[in-house]
Amino acid sequence: MNTDGKRIMLGHGSGGGLMHQLIRDVFFKIFDNPLLNSAGDAAVLPRRANMMAFTTDSFVVDPVFFPGGDIGKLAVCGTINDLVAAGANPFCLSAGFIIEEGFLVKDLETIVRSMATEAKNAGVFVAAGDTKVVERGKCDQLFINTSGIGYLADERTTWQQANPICPGDHIIITGSVGDHGMAVMAARNQPDNTTGFQSDCAPLSILFNELQDKSAGIKYMNDPTRGGLASSLCELTAKKEFGAAINEEAIPVKPNVKGLCDMLGFDPLYVANEGKMLIIAAYDKGHQLVGQLKQHPLGREACRIGTITRENPGMVLMRTKIGGTRIVNMLSGEQLPRIC
């Protein structure tokens, strides 16, 4: 189908011929896999011995294309990463599209293609899908909902149950923080003409394929998306018997990310990531784990940023670069560019 200049019309969501054409020429063609191609009302999945993890997430991002990715890549990676954080190997995804009338078919194809590419990279299938078209102005270009199913790597159910976190355990981040949030900010032209940003959006199952096993020493994972690393740490420690002590100096932040953060008055600790994982590792396995992570391109900058503490239970304390101490709290709302 030649899609140059063609736009999505309300008819593409009507259930009629136009819709079937779109599904056939875009979704089936690009996602192409046996689970989807069977085209029933529901995908039928295999049963496995281990427990199953299930997650869902909706994606709205303005703009839909940004340096380092697009809303489709974001949706697939985000869902995969949620499964990985739960200790699961992702198996399949569903994808629901809500498309604004007038959206370019060509752009939709690009987005679907990047979803297929990421899914393939991560070895997962898009097993079920849905499309709705809404009138102009009823949604902002394109919204995607993805749900995902994965199987746990071993017989445990939760991280905590398998191996509880205790003081002395290492706090590890798999790379620099704030890249995604600042790439989107730059793509919105806030401020004008910022270049050189790249979202870190990536499917982390590739990085953790070999490491989900208990012997790697991982006790907990959380992907620090919205709210950033700080919020993930606060979530980890909230109402717990332990605290977290982190070291500002150790937290990797790219220079341009820091520059834009400084300019907009943002704190990189609270800026979204889409290809990073916060890990708590057993104290006797932490060093080895960092070494293993570093061998993979997605974990090259992995490092230990702190320690789980007996002191200050329920709190995150940060040692600042100049040796001061401050409390790290949950973000209250979206960070706003400020001048003051």
């Binding site: 003409n193 910022t194 050189g196 220079p255 520059g259 001048i339």
Partner: protein, 72 residues
């Protein structure tokens, strides 16, 4: 008040300067400053360059701090 950060002037054109903040390049207005030169460090605030940073003074301040000694 007044979030403001250092940036290096890369190029100048009319009332605008392209500046670099840690390698991040942005355009700012130079309406509030005269005699800006390429290579100058400026403070930028809400899209305007508001003052030139004097590198010599910056060194002087550091040197004063390095040599400060209060006996107990």
């Amino acid at each position: 008040m007044c979030l403001s950060i250092p940036a290096e002037v890369i190029t100048l054109k009319d009332d605008t300067a392209l500046v670099s903040v840690n390698g991040l390049e942005v355009n700012v207005s130079t309406l509030l400053l005269d005699n800006l030169k390429t290579g100058d460090y400026v403070l930028i605030h809400s899209g305007f360059a508001i003052e030139i940073i004097d590198s010599e003074e910056a060194e002087k301040t550091l040197s004063v701090i390095r040599h400060m000694r209060i006996s107990k």
